[in-house]
Amino acid sequence: MHHSIEIEHLSFVYPDGHPALQDVSLTIAPGEKVALVGPNGAGKSTLLLHLNGILKGDGKVTVCGLPVEGKNLGRVRAAVGLVFQNPDDQLFSPTVFDDVAYGPLYQGLPPAEVEARVTSALAAVGMSAYARRVSHHLSAGEKKRIAIATVLSMNPEVLVLDEPTAGLDPRARRGLIRLLGSLPMTMLVSTHDLAMVRELLPRMVILDEGRVAADGPAAELLADAALLEAHGLEKP
């Protein structure tokens, strides 16, 4: 049996010479739900972008048993659903339907299958009625749900979310947490929202200056005020 995500000694330097990741190793078992926290600029987004080969550093990244590299990229991208912080970056088609259908269409699925995928993805996020709507006019919370649907329609095994609750009001945030709790996939969530971590994610990884500073049960780490303080975090 393989692990969902295996990262071994990963380092990455941006073209301008900024070292964003330094020797990061991390293993996530299938079905695990893991939080990735740390101050601004810690390298969280950079790490997430390695999981489907958008960035390529030194070291080894394996997802669902597939090494993330050249010939596997297509399958890796189908297996990893990456949801970016700003849903506006993810919703670039005229209608919600087109957006959710992008992944399946790109995979070359037959039209009937595409329809079925879109329908079930929208149902999963509770937005079935929105298929014909124009994404641009939706509220932030609604956009966020659609953005998640756009990756669910690809039937990913792993869901990777970059700061999913940023900019949501408390009601929309609550709805989103409930939704994520109900999804069965392996999940890796980068966030500043430690209250959400406590509720939703049993395991927590602290990243700081491109290194893994701590990795363990969220409840334990969140109780350690000194540790949090040292990495620019705060008890929720």
């Binding site: 941006y14 073209p15 301008d16 987004s45 972008l49 489907n52 958008i54 297509g74 399958r75 890796v76 991208r77 189908a78 297996a79 990893v80 990456l82 970016f84 700003n86 506006d88 970056d89 993810q90 919703l91 670039f92 088609s93 005229p94 087109d98 992008y102 992944g103 269409l105 790109y106 995979q107 070359g108 699925l109 641009h136 756009t150 990756v151 690809m154």
Partner: protein, 268 residues
């Protein structure tokens, strides 16, 4: 996510970095004009101009290598001038049999072609040095100083400021698209859709970028109003242009004029 590499400015503390932007701007334009007016085949003048610009590159601390590498940017366009080698009449150099025709290269044609390529190469180096040694905000001041409409300069400034914001947005859009461009393992399906569909999706991205920019401009307008903007573009007065500046400017222009005069006199 940042697009640092879009900004061609390279910080440094060379005399060139410290020089007044107005001076650099005017002298760069004069240099390009000189190269442009120099007659074809005035090789010594080209060599002197090259020596001049290479010295400046060393002085600027940018290093000759990086500038030359960047200057290859204009290279593809050289193809447009290549036919000159064969179409200008003159002393035959060599012939290329091409099926029914024969192309005959002439010495004069080759000279014209090399001249055009050299002019272009010299000019692009000058422009690169200017952009790499002058922060854009100072270039804006220079543009104001040479009399460009203040309104246009204000727009340039705003565009430059938001270029980075929007380029970041474009980058994130492309990443999001790449992240969802996956293929399933069964090899019977051909991933990627057709070209028209891909172009259409890209169009959607352009449309969304445009729309967000449009709405952002509303918010910026409100922010500007909140700080007293009334349609008039105002700016602090430019720092004084001292006697030393005038002297440098005159000397620079005189040198270029001399080189140009030399070229026109003997090859014009």
């Amino acid at each position: 996510m940042h697009i640092h590499f879009l900004d061609p400015y390279r910080a440094g503390n060379s005399p060139l970095h410290a020089a007044d932007a107005r001076l650099k701007f005017v002298l760069t334009l004069a240099f390009i004009l000189t190269a442009s007016l120099t007659p074809p085949a005035a090789w010594p003048v080209y060599i002197l101009l090259l020596a001049l610009i290479l010295s400046i590159e060393i002085l600027s601390g940018l290093g000759v290598g990086p500038v030359l590498k960047r200057s290859l940017l204009a290279l593809p366009f050289v193809l447009a001038a290549l036919p000159l080698v064969f179409t200008v009449e003159g002393q035959a150099l060599f012939s290329l049999p091409l099926g029914a025709w024969t192309l005959t290269a002439s010495v004069e044609g080759l000279a014209r072609f090399v001249s055009v390529a050299l002019k272009s190469w010299l000019s692009v180096q000058a422009a690169i040095v200017l952009a790499a040694c002058t922060p854009f905000p100072e270039l804006l001041q220079a543009m104001r100083a040479v009399g460009l409409p203040r309104l246009l300069v204000a727009m340039f400034g705003l565009t430059w400021r938001y270029l980075f914001v929007l380029a970041d947005e474009a980058l994130r859009l492309m990443r999001a698209r790449a992240a969802r461009s996956g293929a399933v393992s069964s090899t019977s399906l051909k991933a990627g859709g057709n070209v028209a569909w891909r172009a259409g999706v890209t169009g959607g991205m352009a449309g969304s970028l445009f729309l967000r920019a449009f709405e952002r401009s509303d918010r910026i307008y409100v922010a500007m109003l909140s700080r007293g903007y009334d349609g008039e573009v105002r700016a602090l007065p430019l720092p004084a242009f001292t006697a030393a500046h005038w002297l440098t400017l005159t000397a620079g222009l005189a040198l270029l004029a001399l080189l140009l005069g030399f070229g026109l006199l003997f090859w014009g």
